[in-house]
């Protein structure tokens, strides 16, 4: 399991473990993005979150994002772990680690990864508030994506 660069897990994520997967002698820069469960979104208090995923396809889409990044940035190594299940405030939902020889690329490729996750990876989040709960992503205020591709939404770490 340690050698899989792209994973969907049910246990807490250790950021160090993800980061270590991409560290290498040729790379001087490693960036990580850690998405945690935020307490307030637009003034509304979140109590907890539940993430569900189409596991097998989600891993496949994470791998696809990895390939896209290699095509765009060349000498780059990427590892992504996304957790699913019930998460509390401050729990880590996702860790993205990217290593490159030069730092500019490490920032850009990392940000590209989180944007793409929010577009194409079949993972869904249910928010629990004091006055209710809801699967996020298809509220009525969402504008249907016009071109048949999932679009970016407001997220807990948007």
């Amino acid at each position: 399991m340690m050698n899989q660069l792209f994973e969907i897990v049910r246990e807490p994520i250790e950021p160090n473990k993800v980061m270590e997967k991409v560290m290498r002698r040729e790379a001087g820069a490693v960036t990580t993005f850690i998405g945690t469960v935020r307490e307030f979104t637009k003034g509304k208090r979140t109590l907890k979150l539940e993430y569900d995923a189409y596991d097998k396809m989600a891993v496949k889409m994470l791998e696809k994002i990895g390939k896209e990044i290699e095509e765009k940035w060349g000498d780059v190594k990427v590892a992504i772990t996304h957790r699913i299940g019930m998460l509390d405030i401050l729990d880590i939902a996702v860790v993205i680690a990217v290593s490159t020889p030069h730092r500019r690329d490490a920032y850009e490729a990392n940000e590209y990864a989180i944007e793409r996750i929010k577009q194409i990876v079949p993972i869904w989040k249910k928010e629990f508030w004091e006055d209710g709960e809801q699967w996020i992503g298809d509220q009525l205020e969402t504008i249907p994506y016009p071109d048949g591709k999932p679009q970016k939404e407001g997220e807990q770490n948007d």
């Binding site: 998405g35 993430y51 249910k126 997220e155």
Partner: protein, 76 residues
């Protein structure tokens, strides 16, 4: 047979994570329409994946395909 996977809101609406329907040479779009009528789904902004790859409405299904209905994703 076509195996259908449901997630998030759609799964809760139907109360099941899987459905099976008879294979009859449908396209993705035809399968969508059928389910929309049967379960009164709002499928307007739902993507479809056939065997774990996103597919367009025009795509023709094959026997034993696994078709997943993907509501707008919200990971990350």
């Amino acid at each position: 047979m076509i195996k259908i996977l449901l997630f998030a809101r759609l799964q809760e609406q139907v109360g099941k994570s899987e459905l099976r329907v008879q294979y009859s040479g449908q396209t993705v779009g035809e399968l969508k329409e059928m389910l929309q009528k049967k379960y009164n789904f709002l499928l307007d902004n739902v993507m479809v994946a056939v065997n774990e790859e996103y597919a367009f409405d025009e795509e023709k299904l094959s026997e034993n395909d696994v078709v997943a209905f993907i509501p707008p994703v919200s990971g990350g």
